[in-house]
């Protein structure tokens, strides 16, 4: 046993897979101790991009510090004209026939772009010539507003008023006034932004990973347990038991597991689909392959000498199975279990994407997060990569690590594959 474990951990593939899996597991276990937020609590409205959010209101009540940043002016100007507007400027210049080689929407060329724009844009001219793509009044107004924004002073005076009526005090805000983020009463860092419900995606993702792992482990355990029991019984006892069990297994093989899942899940209805029910159903529809392989291995073991000796010594069936048969198929069962866990997680995710996932009001799962991202247009209209890409990455990492562990084990236990 000790030697086997040593061998297993000497396999680089297994080790890498094991480390990745443990990292995911540890993150899931430790994260709640650092962030106490409820994963389903809505913090904002709709998708918020990743970043640090600082309360505008509270910045007024913190101390101000004088910082002279040499590029402050440039940064302000750049921030006031987003990439979309820069593209509009380029489009207009192109339509007018100006040479725009070397110009693009990047920050490096922004100043050159503004210079070319100032030299070429004229409101009256744009109105008279009706350049292609800018012929409508609305388009021309857009250009005019853009030009006004560019020519206005980005360092215009700004004041802040506190209080109301007679108590109101007004203070000027200088361009060199800064606040320290830790002093602001309400600041929130969202490393992965928020999803469509305004939930903190990272917290939700960690919780969902935990739940999905649980679903996978439970489904995998059930599938492996049933498969092992059926395989051992059918293989060792044989006869009528074998016929009956293989009859059931045959039916389960030919009717695709996914179809059974869809039928059972839709028959249950959304409210009665708890996380546990989902895992149990995935488990009881995916035991067939394990049962078949265990059975064929047991049949080849059944007539070995050591088993016959055990039988002659009058050992009970349970003892023979536990000491003379199980140890020989254990490595295979562990490998099958690992694959079952990985396919259980995938099955949950796919079912959830079809709208057949666990009850969405209870807990998040990776599949539910994918489903929400799809339903609320994260990959089309909202373009919120943070709502789905990390989820895909986590699913891929989990199955990657489990597959690595599996091939690692395969190499250790099946030496013919080793080279």
């Amino acid at each position: 046993m000790k030697n086997t474990l040593k061998n297993v951990f000497h396999s680089p593939r297994f080790l890498v897979g094991f480390i990745i899996f443990m990292c995911i597991l540890l993150t899931v276990l430790i994260y709640p101790y650092f962030v106490h937020r409820d994963p389903l609590q809505g913090l904002g409205k709709g998708f918020l991009a990743p970043g640090t959010y600082v309360s505008v209101y509270d910045t007024n009540n913190t101390g101000t510090y004088r910082v002279e940043l040499p590029e402050a002016n440039d940064n302000r100007l750049e921030a006031s004209v987003p990439v979309k507007d820069r593209q509009t400027m380029l489009d207009f210049l192109k339509a007018k026939g100006t040479d725009i080689t070397g110009l693009d929407t990047s920050n490096e060329h922004f100043h050159e772009l503004i210079e070319v724009w100032r030299a070429n844009y004229d409101e009256a001219d744009a109105k008279k010539n009706k350049y292609e793509g800018f012929a409508t009044q609305a388009k021309r107004n857009e250009l005019r507003r853009l030009n006004n924004r560019l020519s206005s002073d980005v360092n215009a005076a700004m004041t802040v008023t506190k209080g109301e009526g007679d108590d109101a005090t007004t203070a000027a805000v200088a361009t060199s006034d800064y606040v320290k983020v830790d002093e602001v009463a309400n600041a929130l860092t969202l490393p992965l932004g928020t999803d469509n419900f305004g939930r903190d995606t990272l917290t939700e993702l960690v919780k969902a990973t935990g739940i999905s792992l649980l679903v996978g482990l439970l489904a995998g355990s059930i599938a492996t347990f049933i498969g092992l029991a059926v395989g051992l019984l059918a293989g060792y006892v044989g006869g009528v038991v074998d016929d009956v069990l293989m009859f059931i297994a045959n039916i389960f093989t030919v009717i695709p597991g996914f179809v059974l899942l869809i039928l059972i899940y839709s028959a249950l209805g959304a409210e009665s689909r708890s996380i546990t029910t989902c895992a149990v159903i995935i488990g009881i529809t995916s035991w067939v392959w394990t049962a078949r392989s265990v059975r064929s291995q047991v049949i080849s073991l059944r007539n070995r000498d050591h088993v016959n000796l055990s039988k002659l010594s009058g050992h009970s069936l349970i003892r023979i199975v536990a000491t003379d048969i199980l140890p020989y198929i254990m490595s295979y069962v562990v490998m099958a279990f690992i694959l079952q866990v990985s396919s259980g997680i995938l099955a949950e995710a796919q079912l959830s994407m079809l709208g057949l996932g666990p009850n969405p009001n209870e807990l998040p799962t990776l599949g539910l997060m994918m489903n929400w991202a799809k339903l609320f247009g994260a990959y089309t209209s909202s373009n919120a990569w943070w709502a789905y890409f990390p989820v895909i990455l986590v699913i891929a990492l989990i199955s990657f690590s489990l597959n690595l562990m599996n091939t690692g084990l395969d190499q250790v236990f099946n030496p013919t594959l080793r080279d």
Binding site: I251, P256, L260, L263, A349, L354, K374, T380, I395, N403
Partner: protein, 335 residues
């Protein structure tokens, strides 16, 4: 036909019939276990607000009669089987009074036209790559193996979403969803066909890409297994040319891949579910998705029955074909 052969086919046909019956029964029973009455929700949707209790009751009896739900369970089963065999599959709940066969008939061709070529192309390319990877191992194992392992771990829906975002949303090379431009009337003209081709690209290549990964990994390990087999060593000792050995090796390695191809053609509709829902492609997968979300059980049953029957036929055909092409099966079963 020898006696053994006849026995083999009899056994296979017996199993085919038994599983077929089990599939039909399951497809009938499972949807009927669901909580809630489909008739109530239809009546709730269609009835005018001022209706009296009697009118509501009348409506309920009417729809129950229409769907055959006023019969006992055996009568309902008989209807189900009858409808399945005459090909109508009954009446849809959510799109009443449309026939289920009408809904399926308008969508299944999109699925077949999308999936069949994609599966074939993916299978061919994947097997070529896998065989190449097995033959030129040193280069592949060092350079590509870890990458392939990671990329093959990305689930199919994840890969489709990433392709959609990169090529349709960000680069704008392909349309985001549908099978043709909305507002276009299907017809045999150049404008419509070009629109269909443009919409076809992304779902097609995403299925090809996904199946390449799976096939290549399988083909590679099968080929390596065969390359290390005793008969290859023996053939080398005999001095048979490498070219000839390779032909034998890949022919043997292909056998399980043929199974894979037949099974993926058989489970085509089930495999289409996720890709079609992501690209909103109006195939059978999308019909099923819509049916699931509106609890339209006749449509769900019909789709799952079609999937099951296709898988059943595929595996039955495989058993028959194998009996002829694989001498090992022949030896084991016929004697």
């Amino acid at each position: 036909m020898t006696k053994g052969m006849r026995k083999y086919f009899k056994k296979k046909i017996f199993w085919f019939v038994i599983t077929f019956i089990a599939a039909v029964v399951l497809n009938f029973i499972l949807p009927r276990l669901m909580p809630g009455d489909p008739v109530n929700s239809i009546v709730g949707k269609n009835i005018s607000p001022g209706a009296t209790q009697e009118q509501v009751q009348e409506q309920i009896t009417y729809y129950k009669h229409q769907f055959g739900l006023d019969k006992n369970i055996f009568g309902q089963f008989w209807d189900f089987v009858k409808n399945a065999f005459n090909g109508t599959f009954g009446v849809s709940y959510s799109q009443y009074p449309r026939l289920v066969s009408d809904i399926i008939g308008s969508s299944i061709w999109w699925t077949v036209a999308l999936q069949l070529p994609a599966i074939l192309v993916g299978w061919l390319l994947g097997n070529l790559l896998g065989a190449l990877a097995a033959y030129k191992r040193s280069f592949y194992d060092k350079a590509l193996m870890p990458l392939t392992l990671f990329f093959s771990a990305i689930p199919a829906f994840g890969a489709s979403v990433i392709l959609l975002v990169i090529f349709a949303v960000t680069l704008g090379w392909a349309p985001v969803n549908g099978a043709f431009d909305p507002g276009m009337i299907p017809g045999f003209n150049w404008k419509f066909i070009s629109s269909v081709i443009a919409h076809y690209q992304l779902p097609f290549w995403s299925i090809v890409l996904i199946s390449i990964g799976g096939q290549a990994v399988g083909m590679r390990s099968m080929s390596i297994y065969e390359l290390n087999a005793d008969y290859v060593k023996y053939a080398r000792f005999l001095g048979i040319k490498d070219k000839k050995i390779v032909r034998y090796v890949f022919r043997n390695a292909m056998l399980p891949q043929v199974t894979g191809l037949a099974m993926s053609i058989g489970s085509m509709v089930g495999g289409a579910l996720v890709a079609e829902t992501i690209f909103s492609y109006p195939g059978l997968g999308m019909s099923m998705y819509a049916a699931i979300n509106s609890s339209d059980y006749p449509v769900i049953s019909a789709c799952t029955l079609i999937i099951t029957i296709m898988v059943l036929i595929a595996s039955f055909m495989l058993d028959i074909i194998y009996a002829f092409i694989d001498p090992r099966v022949k030896a084991a079963q016929f004697d």
